[in-house]
Amino acid sequence: MKLLLLLYIFIFQITMNDFNNLFRKYHRRLLLYSLKYVESESDALDIVQNMFVAIWENEKYKQDEELVKAYLFSAVKNGCLNYLKHQKIVKKFENETSLQLMTMEAVHYQSGERSLIEQENMKQINDAIDSLSDIYKEVIFLSRFEGLKNHEIAEKLNIPVRTVETRIFRALSTLKEKMLQKSFFILLYLKGLGSIVK
């Protein structure tokens, strides 16, 4: 039976190219996107899996990639919101305010705003992190890659928590500038092309 399963997986891994490509290209980004709203990584993974099941069943993966991509992100977001609603019911969501903040965020992206996760590929974001100055890179690394909380970073670096908080905010703000700048340059470049064509 185990063998049959492996055979089954193997056959689909080699035959369902459209679907596999889509999965490989977007899975990680969709996971990041769902982690915007869902703290638990395993719940986030479930949401993404369910979304791919829907894509598989309605055969959306056969459509044009741009359409599918937009569909993927909004489907994951809806999945997350449903999850939150459910959490609110079962757990009486201890943190009413943080739910309100999340709802605000969801409404924001519902209005057509696009997250960096949707716009950029992960490499561009990682490149921007790499180009940060060392003290900023350090706090981003410790918080986002090592998973340390602010007070843990403070202990580790032997600095006040307040300094850690400041550095984290500055690091994020610098990253934001860098990403904006990049898209600004792209915009300039496109405009330049436009005038050349004229």
């Binding site: 089954y8 891994q13 596999n20 490989r24 990584e41 993404v48 997250s115 703000s173």
Partner: protein, 341 residues
Amino acid sequence: MLLVLNAKNRMKDREYIENLIARFLNGNCTEAELQELKTWTKTSPENKKEYLSIKDIWDSANSPKENTEEQLSIFYKNQYEKIKKSRLLWIRYSSAVAAILLIALAISVLIPQKSTNQTESFQVFSVPLGSRSKVLLADGTAVSLNSGSELKYSSNFSADNRLVELTGEGFFEVKSDKEHPFLVKTKDFNVKVTGTQFNVCAYDENNFTSTTLAEGKIELQIDGSNQNFEITPGEKFELDRKTRKYTLGNADIESEIAWKDGEFIFRNIPFPDLLQRLERWYDVKLNYSDAGLQKFNFTGRFKNQETIWQVLDALKLTSPIDYRKTTFREFTIIYKPLKQN
């Protein structure tokens, strides 16, 4: 002075809110602090926008474990479990899997066979010693096979491809088809016909290989030479297998082909030939040691109802021989010259 103070306060406020955001994202915020943050985002669209864009950067700089391939396998595994639950689908997919396997199997079986396919498979029809049989071939040709004979033909034998190989003796009644000649191969010569009746005698142990034509016309080609012969009805072609010499002359058709109707006719045949025929006919072994027997020629006619005992008794009466049974189905023929007193 007041302005500077205001600016300082704003700076402090600004720092405070920045730290609050950082604490919210990666620290332990109290409910009161959360309220503060919420209120701040609500005060102006810029505040809200700033908060959301900082959070977006924070979210996109996240680095969960790289597990896309693992997740893809989990996806297929879940699909598999689901399908297992719904029997119908399960059967559909497993038959798809089975079909793929079958195709793969068929390909792996067929591809190597294609290269060896040149050596096509053969059907062999053999008649044991002591019995006779008749075969009807796919093109409508009837072949009577004498005792101890073997007819071999390709599994592709058809009305368009009429080729058989014969060891032993066979009488052919070939279905007429001028477009597609019928070919009989023996170890010594090939006989090509379009529609006739003829006998071919090509036993491995015989000294001679021969063919006798009853009706129609046959073309004969000796193996390993370009010699072609046309044989007319009533003629017998006989090839000495050792010397490769041949004779072509008139033959006694009746005695040649009587065997196919269960008769055993021999006219003036040498003693060794007679013994050989009898051996084959009755599936017995007949030995003799006296060379004096070889000079006798025999003539006779049996209806095949007789036993080997009756045949030998008859010979004993008409010629100077006697016989003794040595073992099971084995006899010794003894030369007993008539005493001339």
